[in-house]
Assembly symmetry: C2
Homo-oligomer: 424 residues x 2
């Protein structure tokens, strides 16, 4: 018991984080959307811009996607077929999956969410169904997203589980030498900053046949040619048959649900195995609204305009990096962690920023170590130069003002737990 | 290893079922919706009515729900807030959950699917967070839906797991006598027919404090006053604080996603625990289309018209039971299993029915025992009298014709596995 999780302990450790943030009015904001990352609070009408939105290209409020979603619902006259997708499915589902498969040059399936994509594939991978019927040693990166972690117990009923230090290629290579089949489970872009050493991992794949399993929730759309993400970009756009990528279609992509890239186009056997032996059979699909948005978003991904959005995102990242120094500066990814230090100073800072029109997520123990609190920011293509400059100015002003105000009153004994309270 | 699952074995055992059904053209039908359970195939234009649709009240094509879905997307101008619901959420999410909470007199949360609702609560229940911090012995009904089964390994990392025979109240009572905390995990209405002995379970709850966890995917909307389902109906509409119900909002309810009924309205502590310590934190929400449909469906549930739909469903069940004898006859539930016997006769029957305009799901080993194949039917309020009578007539005619044609060629050695290949 408690080999992979200890929910009660996690709840007790992280309770303060939630309570404090909640009391500070930084959780549970109920809003109307104003477009371009702006929101209006339902209670007091206060307007603010979200500096921690994962819609990296601003597609969540792109009216073409929004209209495509509404049109699909109306033209199909239903949200779903009311029977398993294995039996009867709307053409929109086939069309959306075909469009994804062709655009990313993979065999793609859609799921209700990225977490469901993980549930639908990780235990199957562990069972050996994708590795010549031999269960691989399942090696998890310590920082792999919580939805992957949460499946360790299920995977452990099918295979041996090993957790290694973050990006520890050396430990992974050692395991490849010791075991005939090894699968590595990691994020492409980590929601807490940084990325997987994809090149080195591909070297291990080539040398040892290592199976690679990536969560690209933050990489797809954001990075790579036509939004193919970090991993496919490193692969030159050609996924190998020993690689599975799962992705969110609800973040950079701007639609709904998740996706599984099972391997090269035409990986029919693997597709059948995935559809017949897990949650894909009984879980809900993306509804027709989401499917409409997916089709519209794929079409947009192939355009020059899309390349322009990626460029604007990179320009905004550069602009921000020039104004605010972080550990992630110049890594080309859109996630930034601004360390403040004391927990209460961080919460006060976030409160003051919100008053002045900027929502920035405060993050502290147990997500990161005690006394290392800060703000997690996510840059977007549809932030204006003025928004970024004003925010950076305010941040400096308020940090100077509050920098030494913290007492860390609720930061008492104990160490950070690896599991993480809120990772995405 | 393989204490709770053996995916590779399941895949090998169920492969024939999938292959045969697939080859027979009874899987993977790609269609356009025509309303009222009718579909048109995309390839050959063939039109048929779905006799195995879980939209028991016909709400999936109710134009008021469809329009509400499209309107919500357009008026919000987005499918999602692009940040955790814990931080910023649209008023539509609050409104939908408030409407559900008030209508069912429970504390309701929405999730991306019913399976996600299970993932978001079962491991937490096992951890003891809902039972005074003492991990309960988790007792699963052998026939509990596959999405509950699939969480056994995760629950086993938090608590002791016991699986008992279907509806075995005696065994459950014995466990209640032996252990201070026990939780029972079951379906309200079983997707394979039949229901939980709710009255007797409530007696155990009263006597021993038994925690009850029900999957009401097929019960909500279909049964009970204003669609409150089997369990809440038995409870006189008042959920106890030792009961959790999960439900689909995508079946009888006619919208998208799933719901968790955490306990009585105002169960704030449990709500916070659920939101902070599991998939609710990072999983996607129902998109705004689904939220619009949920609000419209709740409103419909409170009307006389809705009571009329429930009555029409019961009338159709009675009509069917008068024409076709099944083991489930007169149980008041909408799911019927018509046993044919031989596997190939069943598939041929389903093929002929489809040619004649009726889709009926063939079900055979390993979902049920070898040589006991048949059709799983689901009755709907929006089936016409003529449809039911024509179908029953055809069924009789074709059964007489094909009854002894089967050779059971692909039904070879081995016994039925409890896990089931496709249960919902």
């Amino acid at each position: 018991m408690h080999t992979y999780m200890n929910i009660k302990k996690l709840a007790s450790i992280s309770g303060d984080f939630w309570d404090v943030t909640d009391r500070a009015g930084l959780f549970g904001l109920v809003v109307a959307g104003l477009g371009e990352g702006w929101h209006r609070r339902a209670d007091d009408g206060h307007e603010f811009v979200n500096m921690s939105s994962y819609s990296y290209l601003g597609l969540d409020t792109d009216l073409r996607l929004v209209r495509a979603a509404a049109d699909e619902v109306l033209s199909e006259g239903s949200l779903n077929t009311s029977t398993s997708r294995m039996r009867i499915r709307f053409a929109a589902l086939d069309d959306a999956e075909r469009a994804l498969s062709e655009h990313f040059d993979v065999e793609a399936l859609t799921t209700a969410s990225c977490a469901v994509a993980a549930w639908a594939t990780l235990p199957l991978l562990a069972s050996g169904l994708f590795t010549e019927d031999v269960a691989p040693v399942m090696v998890f990166d310590k920082n792999a997203h919580f939805c992957l972690n949460a499946l360790k117990a299920a995977a452990a009923d099918e295979a041996q589980i090993v957790t290694i230090a973050h990006n520890d290629v050396e430990a992974l290579e050692q395991l490849c030498k010791e075991h005939p089949k090894v699968a590595y489970v990691a994020d492409g872009v980590y929601s807490t900053g940084g990325q997987a050493p994809v090149k080195e991992l591909l070297r291990l794949q080539e040398k040892y046949g290592l199976f690679l399993y990536f969560d690209e929730a933050h990489g797809i759309s954001t990075l790579g040619r036509q939004g193919r993400g970090l991993v496919l970009e490193e692969l030159g756009g050609r996924i190998t048959d020993r690689t599975i990528i799962i992705a969110s279609l609800n973040k950079g992509f701007g639609a709904s649900g998740g996706a599984i890239f099972l391997g090269p186009q035409g990986s029919d056997e693997r597709k059948n195995l995935a559809l017949r032996n897990g949650p894909l059979m009984w879980s809900q699909r993306v509804n027709t609204a989401g499917l409409g948005a997916i089709k519209a978003s794929v079409a947009l991904h192939a355009t020059e305009e899309f390349a322009g959005l990626q460029k604007r995102l990179q320009d905004n990242i550069d602009l921000f990096d020039g104004l605010v120094q972080t550990e992630q500066s110049r890594d080309g990814l859109p996630i930034r962690f601004v360390e403040i230090g004391k927990e209460d100073a961080t919460v006060q800072l976030a409160q003051r920023l919100l008053e002045r029109g900027f929502y920035a997520s405060p993050i502290f123990f147990p997500i990161i170590g005690r006394g290392r609190a800060g703000l997690r920011l996510m840059l977007r293509a549809n932030m204006t130069r003025t928004e970024i400059e004003t925010f950076a100015g305010l941040l400096k002003e308020l940090r100077d003002e509050l920098g030494s105000a913290g007492t860390g009153a609720w930061a008492q004994a104990g160490n950070a737990v690896g599991a993480g309270a809120e990772r995405r």
